[in-house]
């Protein structure tokens, strides 16, 4: 602006002062805003505390009906049997673990390989095209994945493995793996892309190939982010509900067979919620005990992730 002092009939300083007086009210808002923001933050903290509290309280009631020892060590889960009901969580845990491990076996290699490709090899244009497509996969409702597992993947697998039952651990495991792959790929790619270029140049200048740079410099430097993405993805696999409810079956079995029908912790909770277990029955309380166990699993995963990423962090 070419304001000339002489021709000015007003002073800018004066105008600022005038505006400031009007701003006095705004200053009040400045003080209230942080308080409001704090309140919203507290809402989610309180909700979490509330959920955990309900879980613990109802789980506690459950353990007045069924002993903790039975819950943790019994090898059978027959909650619906009137005469010889059994509440051993192990078969449900085994179902959850089978599915999660299969999912991890599928997702970690594919996810990491895509992340390395996207961050180290792909041109900007390729990355800008592929990444959004990958992220669309994460937006597909899981019920769709569930029917994809049941009606598409299972029949194909049965061609290869004739002994495979219609409801099994393999098919939902693979499909959950497909579902969490973009999560690993996208988050790991973010971690790898944020490794400074000067480090790549340092290694390339020593005569390293692109692959050596990716594996021996970028991957270790980004390892904390990569581990975080993997654990997050596995937590998601452990907590995944619809895919296993649709394609996994509802037969809790304590074994390592992936071809037979299973039931995961989440699928059990769905089964009970759909049925007519009355309030106050043992079955009603059992879903809280199972839910609490599930919560412990993901909590341990998260703590583990934090520990590992702190332990292996390469600061830059």
């Amino acid at each position: 602006m070419a304001l000339q002092k002489s021709s000015n009939t007003f002073s800018i300083q004066e105008m600022i002062r005038e505006k400031k007086n009007k701003k006095a009210k705004k200053l009040q808002i400045e003080k209230i805003v942080p308080f409001l923001l704090l309140l919203t933050a507290i809402v989610s903290v309180l909700t979490t505390i509330g959920i955990v509290f309900t879980l613990i309280a109802e789980t506690f009631t459950f353990f007045t009906k069924v002993s903790i020892t039975e819950f943790l060590t019994a090898q059978k889960w027959y909650p619906f049997s009137e005469t010889n009901g059994a509440f051993g969580i192990l078969p449900l845990i085994s179902g959850t673990l089978k599915v999660s491990i299969i999912a991890a076996i599928v997702a970690i290699p594919i996810g990491l390989a895509s992340a390395i490709f996207l961050s180290e090899y792909a041109t900007d244009r390729t990355r800008r095209t592929i990444k959004p497509i990958l992220e669309v996969l994460a937006g597909i409702p899981t019920i769709v994945y569930g029917f994809f597992a049941l009606t598409f993947v299972t029949p194909i697998l049965r061609e290869v493995i004739p002994s495979l039952e219609i409801f099994n651990a393999l098919s939902p495991g693979i499909v959950i793996g497909i579902m969490i792959t973009p999560m690993i790929a996208s988050l790991s790619e973010d971690a790898m892309s944020s490794v400074p270029n000067s480090m790549r140049e340092g290694a390339l200048a020593l005569g390293a190939t692109k692959f050596e740079v990716a594996i021996k410099v970028v991957l270790p430097a980004a390892i904390s982010g990569i581990i975080a993405s993997i654990v997050l993805a596995i937590s998601r696999a452990i907590g995944e509900t619809m895919i296993v409810a649709v394609a996994g079956g509802s037969t809790p079995n304590l074994n390592w067979d992936v071809t037979g029908s299973i039931q995961t912790m989440t699928a059990y909770i769905v089964q009970v919620s759909q049925g007519d277990a009355g309030y106050g029955t043992t079955i009603y309380y059992s879903i809280y005990a199972v839910g609490f166990t599930l919560f412990l699993f993901t909590l341990i995963m998260n703590l583990l992730a934090q520990f590992i990423s702190r332990r292996f962090r390469e600061e830059y």
Binding site: E201, G202, L204, E315
Partner: protein
């Protein structure tokens, strides 16, 4: 491996040192080099001969192409998309733009030190062994020896010998830069390219790196880009003055600073522009 790029024998080096300066072997012979970033003609008809066991300084104002040139010498410039070149750069008699010349091989022979220290986020020990390790040296005793010799060579051994397993990021900027020089020495290069190695360092660290360059000259050929004309005058044997992508003058350092032939060189080194 092609016989021409094998490091010269000790006798050959001795012979060179005994004979007159001008008879020193040529390490890099640049002929008619042009380089474009897209449409931008960044280097124009560069002709330069760089001799063995000398420090060659490249000076010039920002944007004159000096960094571009030094990055072309180990083909790091190819990381920039849309770079095109014409002409030849012969390293020890072989054109580095030749399709059959692998960049990894070239960069193993030609080390580089960057403007900002860029150690890896690993221990001091692992930083130095990174180069030897990727080229297949795994014997722990040999690696230990490489670490000690390289760190001594970079005049940082005494400062870090008791904390080799600590993260390199705990070192000061000057120490990090000398560690990067040690990392580069660990693969026993023939040439060391330095791209403004002291521009991010304080005066004392700068002095240490300069002394180190003098020391390294005995075993390596060094090409150093610098913004600092006093630095060029202090440490180099030959100086090339770049302006707008052209070499204006290239001769012995004492000559260029005392009796520059070109008016533009004189204007630049007397501080009239740049």
């Amino acid at each position: 491996m092609n016989a021409t790029i094998v490091k010269p024998t000790i006798e050959a080096v001795m012979n060179h040192n005994n004979s007159k300066q001008s008879a020193k072997a040529i390490v890099y012979k640049t002929s008619g080099l042009n380089l474009w970033y897209g449409e931008n003609h960044a280097l124009k008809e560069i002709n330069l001969d760089i001799h063995e066991n000398e420090v060659t300084a490249i000076i010039g104002p920002s944007g004159c192409g000096k960094s571009t040139y030094i990055k072309t010498l180990n083909r790091m410039i190819e990381l920039v998309p849309s770079v095109k070149t014409s002409g030849t750069i012969e390293y020890r008699g072989r054109n580095i733009f030749n399709k059959s010349y692998s960049v990894e091989e070239l960069r193993t022979r030609v080390g580089m030190v960057f403007q900002k220290p860029n150690p890896f986020p690993k221990s001091i020990y692992e930083n130095v062994t990174y180069g030897p390790k990727i080229h297949g040296i795994k014997d722990k005793r040999i690696l230990d020896q490489i670490v000690e010799e390289s760190l001594k060579g970079a005049a940082i051994w005494d400062e870090v010998k008791d904390r080799l397993n600590e993260n390199a990021f705990g070192l000061s900027g000057g120490q990090q830069q000398r560690l990067c020089i040690a990392r580069c020495l660990a693969v026993e290069p023939d040439v060391i390219l330095m791209d403004e190695p002291t521009s991010a360092l304080d005066p004392i660290s700068t002095l240490k790196v300069e002394e180190l360059v003098q020391e390294l000259k005995k075993d390596f050929s060094i090409i150093i880009v610098t913004h600092n004309m006093q630095q060029a005058a202090r440490i180099s044997d030959k100086t090339a003055f770049f302006l707008n992508g052209e070499v204006i003058e290239f001769t012995n350092t004492d000559k260029i600073f005392s009796t520059p032939l070109d008016k533009r060189t004189e204007d630049y080194i007397t501080g009239r522009f740049g």
